[in-house]
């Protein structure tokens, strides 16, 4: 469907997104998503990242 040109130009220049501040509840690290052996190996790095 054709849109008015002004609307097309607005879309081009502005997109359709909204910036938001960070959510208040931080999620848990993704370490458990790793296989157990890798999780064990990389645990010190994740601790260093988040502590």
């Amino acid at each position: 469907m054709d849109q008015p040109i002004d609307q097309c130009l607005d879309t081009f220049w502005q997109g359709e997104f909204t910036l938001r501040p960070a959510p208040p509840e931080p999620p848990a690290p993704a370490l458990p998503d790793l296989a157990p052996d890798l999780a064990h190996l990389l645990a010190p790095l994740y601790r260093h990242l988040t502590e």
Partner: protein, 1018 residues
């Protein structure tokens, strides 16, 4: 008024440029230069005005030009809406415009985006040099990039990242990738969907919003994670090399990583579920290739096509080609009914899949991505590595059907019956045919012609077309195979035994090459196919001339099997159940070979008790064979002119040198389990004999331990089943310790061609035997027995505290023996020659049972493992029953034993035959009895069954009743329960010794041995 814009370039650098409202009307057009974009120095001035951070960064930006495709009206680019210059005329088109810009490398770009992020205010007022205050708006492209950066920074700082190994233009690298939680995934989707097109305006490179978002987020996440880890990140010793590259500023790897690690990490990072309501499927289609009917083999198409299909998550059967998304077809309409924005959902999933298949990124950069073309190497990589990873990530994968069944390149071992003149090396199969053994190259089970080998060698490795099918060829493996063939085409180690062994071994490998096919014709082919011996329809060999008996159908099949192995020069283990006619089948084979003209003596080794039996059976069934007895003190040297020389294991040991001097046409070991102890002298003497193909006869190939089976197999075919140690490691330990079914099945496959075992319980054979009923008869102890029993137990338990190791085992075994003796009769333990009457519950019960049997006209075998108890019991039973009682034990000469057997088998013979289990438990034919009593328990059910089979065998006319006498509440009863459970193991070709008893902890021993209250029945 200025508007600041930002561009994430395809080279990974950030370009920052600005529109100047003041220049909008003033500056004229100069070619493709943007007429009102600020000079780069002015952009730097604007950044310096924003704050100290951007000011510091502004010094580090390179002044360059960007070329952007911007909406153009007439001859001018349109202004961004933030620039307050009023409305524009109609008719825009995208045209390239050059704008001056500051370019920043990734570290500075990330820092700048962080500085400029402001979710509340899309701009600021800044003071330019000279004190001029101006409005500075942050254009959407810049704001969008600050938003992506903020997300990356938060993911890094909260540990929502996962490592990945990625191939980049400069080589492989270890990267930190975003690992979304539900909230960040929603945020990411919104940012990807809302990407302003101006952010994608770089000329010549116009990615989709989702693709640009993924590229920027990944780059920034990796960078911010490394920044957050800092220089003091802990080192991780001991991990794979790529782990080190996760720390520090440089993620590049010195060498390509292990593909398995790449796939493992990629599959984990891609998740296992679709993001939204759409599920993708990837369909690989092979190229058309050359037309089959085209004699010139013109290549029609060499491209493999990977099409993307999609459908609703909850309707796996509905799959549309992606191209239909942009058509108005019914499929797209159906999809639109269940998914709000199918295109956006499709692109998001495609982006997820691109993590596993980076080539998809190229498709994402097109306006309407529907799939990609792959070359052969790409197709092979997709089939081998990517497809399983995509499937694991929850995508559908549709592969050509042949891939799952693709044949492997390997070796074929072949044996062909052929005319003698045409072979260089051959084995004598029989007088008419020779076998030619060869290695050949094979694809799956198909052997290759020389021309095909040449073609394969000339073809490139990878996916190759062979006989109209695609196969995967590994260049290294092909070269190794060709080298192998050049060196070993006529391998002297390849013979019938090796061929059978290769066929029985799953995943057989020779010199590192898989053996994918084993082919043979003639009898060897029948053996390979398992068509000999077992199946009711298997080939049968009728009784040969010179054999005067009749053979049952299963015996004719056994004869065919024995004959086939012998003609191939292979040994045989005939392990039919007791009573199924192993003797008859062996004699039929010897008669058959004799009738064919085979000459030279066959040595038959058997226990002393069976010498007479063999002699009589040979005279009866194979009267043309010249038989010599090599037995007894007056024995003469083996006669080379005899057809069959019968000897015993004892004589074999004594006359080893003389018997070794003869080259026997065959050696037959009857009751071959007698030679089960590999280290024993008679076993060594047996194995050292020089002979043609050997035969082992045994009704119990596994009496106690699988090591015994190896000894018997190794006698028949020396060396074929590996060393005792390797056999133990591969089969005996896994099967005996943990009942490993795979190992048991592998052992059965390996031994199947060489070991033939039919059971009385086989339906066909069972019909030819009368029924067997088994009972456990419980007896009570007398008070005298109970007192002695408790004394033995107390003595043992009292001693166990102070001894260990071998001494402890010895004490436990001795006590077990004494307890069994008490259960039999106090006089057996005390050895005091005291009268037997009324002192043993078991003996009283035995007398009653026998009286009843005799009254019915039945006749009974009574087995005991103690010869001395038999000696005590014989006169007692004779007195109590008033009838003669025969007693066979190891102390008797062979003729005397035979005489007793003959007397019992006579229709008017005595009604009760007392036998020691060891001397009378095997080999004898005692079908005159229809009652069997086991007076004391042997730990091994196979030994008892063997003894029972003296009566329950071919020739038995009546049903057989078997009774096992067990003293209630004693170790006998508890062991009986254990034996019943062990019998299942024995049926699965597994045995166990009694040594486990000696290793029980004292508490468990106490439970096993202690007399329970019901023992005396009082």
């Amino acid at each position: 008024m200025y508007v600041l814009h930002a561009q994430w370039r395809v080279d990974g650098r950030l370009g920052v440029w600005a529109e100047d409202g003041g220049a909008f009307t003033g500056r004229g057009r100069e070619g493709s230069r943007h007429p009102y974009a600020c000079p780069a120095a002015e952009v730097a001035a604007l950044l310096r005005a924003v704050g100290p951070g951007p000011a510091w960064l502004a010094e580090r930006g390179d002044e360059r030009w960007l070329t952007l495709r911007l909406p153009t009206l007439g001859s001018r680019p349109t202004p961004s809406p933030d620039l307050p210059v009023g409305s524009t005329a109609r008719g825009p088109e995208l045209r390239p415009w050059r704008v001056p810009a500051l370019l920043f490398d990734l570290p500075e770009a990330a820092q700048l985006l962080g500085e400029l992020f402001d979710p509340y205010w899309p701009g600021t007022t800044v003071e330019l040099p000279g004190g001029r205050a101006v409005e500075l708006a942050y254009g959407a492209s810049l704001r969008w990039l600050t938003g992506v950066h903020d997300l990356a920074w938060r993911l890094a700082g909260r540990g929502r990242v996962l490592p990945a190994l990625v191939a980049e233009p400069g080589g492989w690298a270890a990267r930190w990738r975003p690992a979304h939680d539900p909230a960040s995934r929603r945020e990411a989707r919104a940012l990807a969907a809302g990407c302003p097109p101006v952010a994608r305006a770089e000329d010549g490179h116009e990615p989709t919003g989702g693709a640009l978002f993924a590229t920027v987020l990944e780059a920034l996440t990796d960078h911010e994670t490394r920044v957050a880890l800092g220089e003091d990140a802990p080192e991780l010793p001991g991990g794979p090399a790529w782990v080190a590259a996760l720390r520090g500023p440089d993620g590049r790897l010195p060498a390509p990583p292990d593909p398995a690690q790449v796939a493992r990490l990629a599959a984990g990072a891609a998740g296992t579920e679709p993001l939204g309501l759409v599920r993708l499927a990837f369909r690989l289609t092979e190229p058309l290739g050359t037309a089959d009917d085209d004699p010139d083999a013109t290549v029609v198409d060499e491209n493999w096509r990977l099409d993307v299909l999609l459908g609703p998550v909850d309707r796996p059967s509905l799959l549309l080609p992606a191209a239909e998304l942009w058509s108005a077809g019914p499929g797209a309409a159906a999809l639109a009914r269940t998914v709000d924005d199918p295109v956006a959902a499709y692109l998001a999933e495609l982006d997820r899949a691109a993590r596993l298949l980076p080539e998809l990124r190229a498709a994402l950069h097109r306006t309407r991505p529907t799939g990609i073309d792959l070359d052969r190497a790409g197709a092979l990589a997709f089939l081998r590595d990517t497809a399983p990873a995509l499937a694991a990530a929850g995508h559908g994968v549709l592969l050509p059907a042949w891939w799952q069944r693709r044949p492997r390149l390997g070796l074929a071992a072949t044996a062909r019956t052929t005319a003698p003149s045409s072979v260089r090396r051959a084995a004598q199969a029989d007088r008419d045919a020779l076998l030619d053994f060869r290695w050949q190259l094979a694809v799956g089970r198909q052997t290759l012609t020389q021309q095909e080998v040449d073609e394969l060698a000339a073809a490139q490795a990878g996916l190759v077309r062979f006989r109209g099918r695609w196969i995967e060829v590994d260049a290294g493996q092909l070269a190794a195979a060709l080298r192998f063939l050049a060196a070993r085409r006529d391998d002297p180690q390849l013979d019938a035994a090796a061929l059978l062994r290769l066929a029985a071994t799953d995943g057989a490998v020779v010199d590192g090459l898989p053996v994918t096919a084993v082919h043979a014709d003639g009898p060897l082919g029948e053996l390979l196919a398992g068509r000999l011996g077992r199946l009711p329809g298997a080939r049968r060999t009728p009784p040969p001339p010179g054999f005067t008996g009749a053979l049952r159908p299963y015996q004719e099949r056994g004869l065919a099997w024995l004959d086939a192995l012998g003609r191939l020069g292979l040994g045989a283990v005939l392990a039919d159940d007791m009573g199924l006619g192993k003797t008859v089948q062996t004699l039929a084979l010897l008669a058959l070979e004799h009738a064919r003209g085979a000459r030279g003596p066959v040595l038959l080794v058997c226990p002393t008790s069976l010498v007479g039996n063999w002699q009589r059976e040979a005279a009866r069934f194979a009267p043309r064979l010249r038989v010599q007895l090599h037995h007894g003190p007056d024995r003469t040297a083996p006669d080379p002119a005899a057809d069959l020389v019968i000897t015993t294991y004892g004589v074999l040991q004594r006359d080893a040198a003389a018997l070794r001097a003869v080259h026997w046409r065959r050696v037959v070991a009857d009751e071959a389990q007698h030679a089960k102890n590999r280290a024993a002298r008679q076993s060594r003497a047996l194995r050292s004999l020089r002979s043609g193909p050997r035969i082992a006869l045994t009704g119990t190939p596994v009496e106690n331990r699988l090591a015994e089976l190896h000894t018997v197999l190794d006698f028949a075919n020396p060396g074929l089943f590996g060393t005792p140690e390797s056999f133990r490691e591969r089969y005996a330990v896994p099967i005996e310790r943990s009942g490993n079914r795979d190992a048991a099945a592998a052992l059965q496959r390996l031994t199947a061609p060489f070991l033939l075992r039919r059971l009385k319980s086989d339906p066909e054979i069972g019909q030819q035997l009368p029924a067997k009923q088994e009972f456990t008869v419980r007896c009570n102890l007398t008070p005298e027995q109970a007192g002695l029993y408790q004394a033995v137990v107390a003595d043992l338990l009292g001693r166990l505290g102070g001894i260990r190791g071998v001494e402890r085992k010895g004490a436990v075994l001795a006590a077990l023996g004494r307890l069994k003796q008490v259960c039999n009769h106090p006089a057996q333990l005390l050895r005091d020659r005291s009268p037997l009457g009324g002192r043993s519950g078991k003996v009283e019960r035995l007398v009653a049972l026998l009286q009843e049997a005799l009254a019915e006209g039945d006749r009974a075998l009574v087995f005991t493992q103690y010869a001395e108890f038999g000696a005590l019991l014989q006169p007692h039973l004779r007195r109590r029953l008033g009838t003669p009682v025969l007693h066979l034990h190891g102390g008797l000469t062979a003729p005397r034993r035979q005489e007793l057997v003959d007397r019992f088998q006579d229709p008017d013979g005595p009604g009760v035959f007392l036998l020691s289990l060891k001397a009378g438990g095997t080999g004898l034919n005692l079908t005159a009895a229809n009652q069997v009593v086991h007076l004391d328990r042997w730990w091994n059910p196979a030994t008892e069954d063997q003894a029972t089979d003296r009566a329950h065998r071919i020739g038995q006319q009546r049903d057989v009743q078997v009774r096992r006498l067990v003293c209630t509440g004693t170790v006998e009863e508890r062991i009986a329960e254990l034996i019943d459970s062990k019998r299942e193991l024995a049926d699965a070709v597994v045995g166990a010794g009694e040594h486990w008893l000696t290793e029980l902890p004292t508490e468990q021993l106490r439970e096993l041995l202690t007399l329970s209250a019901d023992a005396t029945g009082a």
